[in-house]
Structures are given as structure tokens and as C-alpha cells.
């Protein structure tokens, strides 16, 4: 029997990436006991507006969005297994860590920090795989 991929519905209108931004990507897909997320940005989960801010504020919003999504799918932040933490400049690495650790304080997921250009001039993006 072939495994299926299941598109997870956006828990709130602002997180429906395809509808809000018209980008060809699905918010999250569940398959094989894992959930694969599109890179999450600081987006208002109700309005879909990008919330440009500091590394701190953007990271908070990203984790809050992931929490909303994961919980609506029957999972949780502590089931995240891998993160690519995209940051606009490695100079704010410590700032990222300070807020990041508040959301995954115990047995955190594995992580690689990528200092890269991020869409729309935002400062942080978290690319996440979680256990369902």
C-alpha cells in the first residue's frame, strides 16, 4: 500500500500561505509519521500580514505560529525533530538563541543555523520537520 501525503489545513486564515501570498507551496504536509513544514515566517496568523521586527519579535511570532499549527495537527513544539534556523546575519546568533530556547527548553530538536537571504526582507525563518 502506497503511503499518502496529507495536506494539513491552515488553522487560521493568515497562515494559508497559498491563499495569502499566492506562492506555490503548502503550509504543512503529513506523511510517514512526520510533518514537513514550509519555512515559517513572522506572519500574523489572522491577517497574513508580515510582521517585520527584531530577531526576537520575529522568532516569537514564528514559534507561536508553529505551536498553533502543530497543536491543531495533534502534535506539539516538543515533537519538532529538525530545524534549519535561517537568519539574515549570523551576528544576531545570540539574540536568536535567547528567545529560541524559551520555546524548546527540554530535549530540543537538532538544528543548523543558515545565514542566508530571507524572503521579503524578514530577519528569521524556521524550516521545520516534526514528528506527527
Amino acid at each position: 500500500m502506497a503511503l499518502a501525503r496529507e495536506i494539513l489545513p491552515a488553522p487560521s486564515p493568515g497562515l494559508d500561505f497559498a491563499a495569502v501570498f499566492g506562492h506555490p507551496q503548502t503550509l504543512a504536509i503529513r506523511a510517514g509519521g512526520l510533518i514537513f513544514f514550509s519555512g515559517m515566517l513572522a506572519i500574523n496568523p489572522q491577517t497574513g500580514e508580515r510582521e517585520h521586527g527584531t530577531v526576537t519579535s520575529e522568532t516569537r511570532r514564528i514559534f507561536e505560529n508553529l505551536k498553533l499549527l502543530l497543536e491543531s495537527a495533534g502534535s506539539s513544539l516538543d515533537r519538532i525533530v529538525q530545524v534549519h534556523a535561517l537568519i539574515y546575519d549570523r551576528i544576531e546568533y545570540d539574540v536568536l538563541n535567547r528567545v529560541y530556547r524559551q520555546y524548546v527548553p527540554n530535549a530540543p530538536p537538532c538544528r543548523t543555523v543558515w545565514s542566508v537571504q530571507i524572503e521579503a526582507g524578514l530577519k528569521v525563518q524556521l524550516d521545520v520537520i516534526a514528528a506527527a
Binding site: 510517514g32 509519521g33 512526520l34 515533537r79 525533530v81 529538525q82 530545524v83 546575519d89 549570523r90 546568533y93 538563541n97 529560541y100 530556547r101 524548546v104 527548553p105 530535549a107 530540543p108 530538536p109 537538532c110 538544528r111 543548523t112 543555523v113 543558515w114 545565514s115 542566508v116 520537520i129 514528528a131 506527527a132
Partner: protein, 135 residues
């Protein structure tokens, strides 16, 4: 289907960067039969300090340390499915591959190369996914 999620660490505490540096990540996380390994930069197995040096030395150190992490948990480099390799300087790709080849001489895994800014004089960072099941 709720897969178990477990943390896996290197036996050598000097190589446990997550713990030593108090970072909000784990060295590796197993979920079902997949093991995700955090990005690794060159660290001395003797002192736990960052090591500098030319790209070839840095790549060899990282892949040795990755091998140690996997072997500490009963796995090996043979279980690696795909690596993401970051270089501070893409011009060093050939030198990196030369060393990489010595760690994966036959039937190598998949790999993706990308270039970006790295910290502390690190020239390379490598993460991977391994598969430790039977299928």
C-alpha cells in the same frame, strides 16, 4: 501513527557542543527510523575547543566527529542518507570533496552544497539525515 522521538549524543563529552556550549539544540534526534543530526563545525575531540586550520583539516575533523556520534549510538557513516554541506568559501569545494570522498569511498549518500557566512573562522559546517531501519 505516533513515532517515538529520542535524543542521541556522542560518547565523548568534549564533542557534545550542545551541552558544553549550552545551546538550544541536541546533537541528534531519532524519530522512528530516521536520525537527524545537527550541523557540526570542527571541534577537537581532545579539548572540545574549536579547531581552525585549512579546509581539508576542518572537513576531516567534522566527518570524524560525525562518525563518532553515529558510532556512539550503534550506527555508522553507512547509515547516512543525505548531508547538507555549508562552505564559507565556495572556491574550496574541490578540496572539501577530496576529503569527503575518503569518508564515503563507495556508494556515497546524497549531498547538497551551499555557501554562506559562517562564524569563528569555521570554513565548513555539515549536517545529515541517517536511516537506521531495515527497509
Amino acid at each position: 501513527m505516533r513515532l517515538p522521538r529520542t535524543i542521541h549524543e556522542p560518547s565523548n563529552p568534549a564533542l557534545n557542543v550542545s551541552r558544553r556550549q549550552g545551546r538550544p539544540h541536541s546533537p541528534s534526534v531519532r524519530v522512528g527510523d530516521y536520525v537527524f543530526v545537527s550541523g557540526m563545525v570542527p571541534v577537537s575531540p581532545e579539548t572540545g575547543e574549536r579547531t581552525q586550520g585549512p579546509i581539508a583539516d576542518q572537513v576531516a575533523t567534522v566527518l570524524s566527529n560525525m562518525k563518532h556520534l553515529l558510532e556512539s549510538n550503534g550506527w555508522s557513516l553507512d547509515h547516512i542518507v543525505r548531508l547538507n554541506i555549508t562552505l564559507a568559501n565556495m572556491l574550496e569545494a574541490d578540496d572539501m570533496w577530496r576529503v569527503f570522498r575518503t569518508f564515503f569511498p563507495d556508494n556515497p549518500p546524497a549531498a547538497t552544497l551551499m555557501g554562506m557566512q559562517l562564524s569563528f573562522g569555521n570554513l565548513v559546517e555539515i549536517e545529515c539525515v541517517a536511516y537506521v531501519g531495515d527497509k
